[in-house]
């Protein structure tokens, strides 16, 4: 679904945000990009969205080489990728329903199609009573639910999330993770950058650790903690780019059960972010 080959990104001023990164993400996978701030997680996500020009290497998304994509085709790429960010990135002048509908408006869907789809997604993210509120009238958790709804409403094959829980308290974060998990179960490939240990450990999914722009670990069902330690004592032995690409996840039944246990499998709109504006 997503393939990175020898991806290198050097920012103006010489900061190397990605060094020969090789990564292969299969359809339907849920992949965590972990690592400390400034390690290059966000850069990888931005490169996959073509928000930055790449310095070297190639990236394929859904079989297309996006590094060779002409500028005018970039919107089409982005329409096949849902995005969720730490700061929600909602349109302040639009209501919850309008924010979610915007994805479909961009695609030119008729109103008769947009309305039921938006309602369905509002129900999925547990905001059906708040369709006409503005983002500023919502709590952080609710805003992030809107953002997830907007990312998912057109059923994109891929969803990229950059620190989606970065601004949320742990309980609220669990709610968002449950949502993402549900979306992943519909077959959507999810790549999520995070440094939230608890979440990564609870989900038991593939973990790709990034440090100083290089992939230092790639575990099919990983934990966050091993990262540091791994990086410290294995940093010299692991040659970036020479990384065995992690096997497609297909979480083992036990792992899946553990995840279920950790974050629950009920509908996402329970406890968690009951906090109001």
């Amino acid at each position: 679904m997503i393939r990175l080959q020898d991806v290198t990104k050097v920012y103006e001023g010489g900061t190397v945000a990605a060094r020969d990164v090789n990564l292969d993400i299969q359809r339907g996978e849920f992949v965590f990009l972990v690592g400390p701030s400034g390690s290059g997680k966000s850069t990888l996500i931005r490169l996959m969205l073509r928000q930055e020009p790449i310095t070297r290497g190639k990236i394929w998304v859904a079989g297309k080489d996006i590094t060779a994509l002409p500028n005018w085709k970039v919107p089409y790429l982005r329409r096949s990728i849902g995005t969720v960010f730490q700061d929600f990135k909602l349109l302040p002048n639009k209501t919850v329903a309008e924010n979610i509908a915007f994805t479909l408006e961009v695609l030119g869907r008729p109103r008769s199609v947009i309305r039921p789809q938006v309602e369905q997604v509002l129900d999925l993210v547990g905001l059906d009573g708040k369709a006409d509120r503005y983002p500023r009238q919502l709590s952080g958790g609710e805003q992030q639910r809107v953002s997830v709804g907007r990312a998912f409403v057109n059923r994109p094959p891929i969803l990229l999330a950059d620190e989606p829980t970065g601004n949320l308290d742990p309980a609220t974060s669990v709610g968002i993770m449950k949502l993402l998990d549900r979306i992943n179960r519909t077959g959507t490939t999810i790549v999520m950058a995070t440094h939230d240990h608890a979440i990564v450990d609870a989900m038991q999914r593939r973990v790709v650790a990034v440090e100083n722009g290089a992939v230092v670990r790639d575990d099919a069902t990983g934990r966050y903690e091993t990262t540091m330690h791994h990086a410290i004592d294995a940093g010299s032995t692991i040659v970036p780019g020479d990384q065995p690409v992690g096997a497609p996840p297909e979480p083992t039944p036990e792992a899946a059960e553990q995840a279920e246990h950790a974050i629950g499998s009920e509908s996402p709109d329970v406890e968690a972010d009951g906090e109001q504006e």
């Binding site: 701030s37 928000q51 919107p75 790429l77 982005r78 995005t83 700061d87 909602l90 915007f102 109103r111």
Partner: protein, 306 residues
């Protein structure tokens, strides 16, 4: 189709939700175009008034009577035909003694009837009234007339005409210059105001790009907004100046010699042009204002998170 409807709705909703900024932009258009349109109207007034003054008789050749060594009527008419053939001369008119007396009567009959009583209808000389093609040429004509033995005397508006014509040129240049200058500053002011409005919403632009909106999809509502603001502001400006000038006409009626009346066709013609001008300024302002953020969103416009 649904897209077009969506983009129109989008523009209208944005206008409503950003009321304060929109009012600011409309006012900017209104004020700057009012000044420019006012200057234009003023220029038109000056032109109309100097034109009125320039109309009519410029040179009068008073002719000697036959007994004073002048020509008979037939000869005088021949002289007029000759004058008419001069290239500087537009029209000539022959005013005989009777007509001269009637003119005199008309001028003084009501105010100084005793003057009319006393004057001998034959005392007033015959004259040829001359209108020139260009008033600046009066010197040549006066000179040629004076050298004609049949001519008693020549009077012309001379100096006054010269002053008037140079004054009207100066006023014309000033008025047009002012209108052009104010027009240019209007475009800059409008473009800048709309740019500021877009600057306040640059994050929205980058979010729209993130969701996969194409540049034109983002641009159209902004451009429609700018156009509507431009049309409203310019329309208000034209209306205001029109109403003001209508009020001036009433005042102007008390002042003789001055005409403050400008035909409605002038306002309609120039008004339409100004509204189009306002709309264009709005469109240009939004396209220019947006281009930077559209480009930024392709590169490093979105703030880096984490």
């Amino acid at each position: 189709m649904s897209r077009v409807a969506f983009l129109m709705r989008e523009a209208l909703v944005n206008l409503r939700r950003n009321a304060l900024v929109v009012v600011g932009a409309i006012l900017a258009v209104f004020i700057s175009l009012s000044l420019a349109f006012g200057a234009l109207v003023l220029n038109e007034l000056v032109q109309r008034n100097t034109l009125t003054w320039q109309d009519g008789t410029h040179v009068i050749a008073w002719l000697k009577d036959a007994d004073q060594g002048g020509l008979e009527t037939a000869g005088q008419l021949g002289l007029m035909e000759e004058i008419q053939s001069w290239e500087q001369v537009e029209t000539t008119r022959y005013v005989d003694k009777l007509a001269a007396f009637q003119e005199f009567e008309l001028l003084f009959g009501e105010r100084r009837p005793e003057l009319v009583q006393e004057i001998n209808p034959n005392a007033l000389p015959t004259s040829i009234r001359i209108e020139l093609t260009d008033i600046d040429l009066y010197r040549d004509v006066v000179f040629r007339l004076q050298s004609n033995p049949a001519v008693l005397n020549v009077t012309s508006a001379g100096e006054q005409i010269e002053q008037l014509s140079s004054l009207s040129t100066v006023l014309n240049v000033l008025g047009l210059g002012l209108a052009v200058l104010l027009g240019i500053s209007a475009v800059i002011l409008i473009a800048n105001t709309i740019r500021m409005a877009i600057y306040a919403r640059r994050d929205e632009v980058s979010i729209m790009k993130l969701v996969g909106a194409s540049n034109w999809f983002i641009r159209v509502p902004f451009v429609l907004e700018g156009m509507i603001e431009g049309i409203l502001g310019a329309g208000l400006a034209v209306l205001t100046v029109w109403i003001a000038s209508q009020n001036l006409v009433t005042v102007g009626e008390a002042i003789p010699l001055l005409t403050l009346d400008i035909p409605t066709s002038f306002f309609i013609q120039w008004g339409v042009l100004f509204v189009i001008f306002g709309a264009l300024a709005g469109i240009v302002g939004s396209v220019v204002g947006l281009s930077k953020y559209l480009r930024e969103a392709d590169g490093s416009g979105v703030p880096v998170t984490a």
